[in-house]
């Protein structure tokens, strides 16, 4: 069985488009498009909202409300929205299917980004907020120059978990007549071509891992070392004894 999956994946004719079949590369791009659009919209909604709620400590119920959205059955909502929306789009366009898909995906991606952004900002040490205001920063300056950079690790973890979920769930696009890596899974199931079905699943998993790796790398460069505490060994965090020595050094400097 595993050998069949490997054979299916390594067959170069499966990767490129043919007259009858769409290849893996094309479906991969389609998959990434669904994910990319949903992630962009989710970020546009959840990031500013999370920052605002965390900073002002108002409208906290919105976060709880968004989290409740996670309980919605994805396929059920997808079918419902498709029935409502797709009749408005006629002809040779797949917009009528794309819109319901993206709505479902956005609903899925907003909660983790929103709640992590909110938690990140809200958990900034009160002393640091106090100092920032006390130095004479305005509200937006405190948010953008202090609270946002400090909450980046939590924000990133929200974005990463949202992305993983998007990549896994974007397969439902193929439940509708749309492309994406889900195509192989649904078609494999329908044709009882299990190597194709499992191969599709492996591709989705591989894409998820690879994307997470990319995001982790970005996070490494975007988040300040002062927060991640990745200090070069030469200037590692001093233990208390070294600190005491520095203290005395300082006193006589």
């Amino acid at each position: 069985m595993i050998a069949d999956v490997v054979t299916w994946l390594t067959d170069s004719s499966h990767w490129t488009d043919t007259k009858f079949d769409t290849g893996i590369w094309t479906q991969l791009l389609a998959h990434l498009k669904f994910v990319g659009i949903a992630l962009a919209i989710a970020l546009l909604i959840a990031l500013p909202l999370g920052l605002f709620i965390g900073h002002t400590r108002r409208w906290g119920w919105l976060v709880a409300g968004a989290n409740a959205l996670r309980a919605l059955p994805t396929v059920g909502v997808l079918v419902l929205l498709t029935v409502i929306i797709s009749p408005h789009f006629q002809g040779r366009t797949d917009t009528g299917f794309l819109i319901p898909t993206e709505i479902v995906l956005v609903l899925l991606a907003v909660p983790p980004i929103l709640s992590n952004t909110y938690a990140g900002v809200q958990n900034v040490e009160p002393g640091i907020r106090d100092a920032a205001f006390g130095m004479g920063m305005t509200g937006p300056q405190v948010l953008l120059r202090v609270e946002f950079p400090i909450s980046l690790p939590l924000i990133f973890s929200g974005v990463r978990s949202a992305t993983l979920q998007l990549i896994a769930t974007a397969t439902v696009a193929s439940y509708l007549p749309l492309g994406g890596l889900g195509r192989f899974i649904y078609d494999g199931l329908a044709q009882q071509d299990y190597p194709q079905m499992i191969g599709g699943g492996v591709l989705v998993a591989a894409l998820a891992l690879l994307t997470d790796l990319v995001l982790a790398t970005i996070q490494r460069y975007v988040v300040s070392r002062g927060i991640t505490r990745r200090f070069s060994s030469k200037q590692a965090v001093p233990d208390s004894r070294i600190a005491a020595v520095h203290e005395t050094d300082g006193a006589h400097a």
Partner: protein, 367 residues
Amino acid sequence: MIRFDAVTKRYPDGTVAVDSLELTAASGQITVLVGPSGCGKTTSLRMINRMIEPTSGTIWLDDTDTASMATHELRRQIGYVIQHAGLFPHRTIVDNIATVPFLLGTDKKEARKTALELLERVGLPPHFAKRYPAQLSGGQQQRVGVARALAADPPVMLMDEPFSAVDPVVREQLQDEFLRLQQELGKTIVFVTHDIDEAIKLGDQVAVLRVGGHLAQLASPVELLSRPIDAFVAGFVGRDRGYRALGFTTAGTLSTRGEPTVTLGAAIPKGTDTDTWLLVVDAQQAPQGWLDLGADFTGHETVSDELLYRGGTLATQGGTLRAALDACLSSPSGRGVVVDDGGALIGSVTAREVLELIEARETERQP
């Protein structure tokens, strides 16, 4: 100058944190607000830079009503140091210090240069500039906190229990350096603490507040110790007030007598009948401790460290009467050891001589 004019802070639930406070913090001086918890000292401080808005009354910054300014403008003119320093963890030390200059739009290069100078001024090595707060100890972070408050050279500084989160040894160091810094800079400082000893050590004037936000007494430290206005202040200022007040009177030049000594590492001398305690000094003439000549020296040829009695404190010539008296009282021989600024032995005085000096001072003061 900062002036509280009938300032009251009442919270919506009816609690009065500060009750029509009248207080003037003189320019170039350290005014310490001290009192038990719940006395409104921190609230009073935070009303100056409007981190808390007063319910009624006016706080004047020189001739400006602070309520008439935009809060962020006001705060940029006032240095602010808080208990755990509150440094920004994502910024390097140099950028932390330069926070306010950055806000004021100072050229980044210029601001960082000033920040580096300040880093040295608060006693930290320049290579700390590129580090992050997490790499510094609590005491070092607090130094950076002070430097950050000084960065835009504000005439006024507010300090909210800045030294209370560090251990006692570091605290004393920070206090001493803070006083040295203030001597150079002459800022108008309002300082909050719950520690009356810190208040007395640092304050040019001390405001004792009682629970409910009333000013109990505003006085110089020595007056507070010698003339507490009521039982509350007396109780809060604590015991040994008379003795502690001596810490504010310089002894002048003490007339000492020479003290026979033996150098560390020399042979143990034979004891005389009259005096069993002999002062031990090192090669630089710095007193190390006392040697009990009546003791049993079996197994020892020379004067070594473990034979010394080290309980005695040292008085510095030109220091306070308190230090002189303490040196006498703590010395096993009854003779207080007096040293010069470099720590080298000058001679000794007795408690009787110091007391005579104290009595002479009293007569001078009340002829």
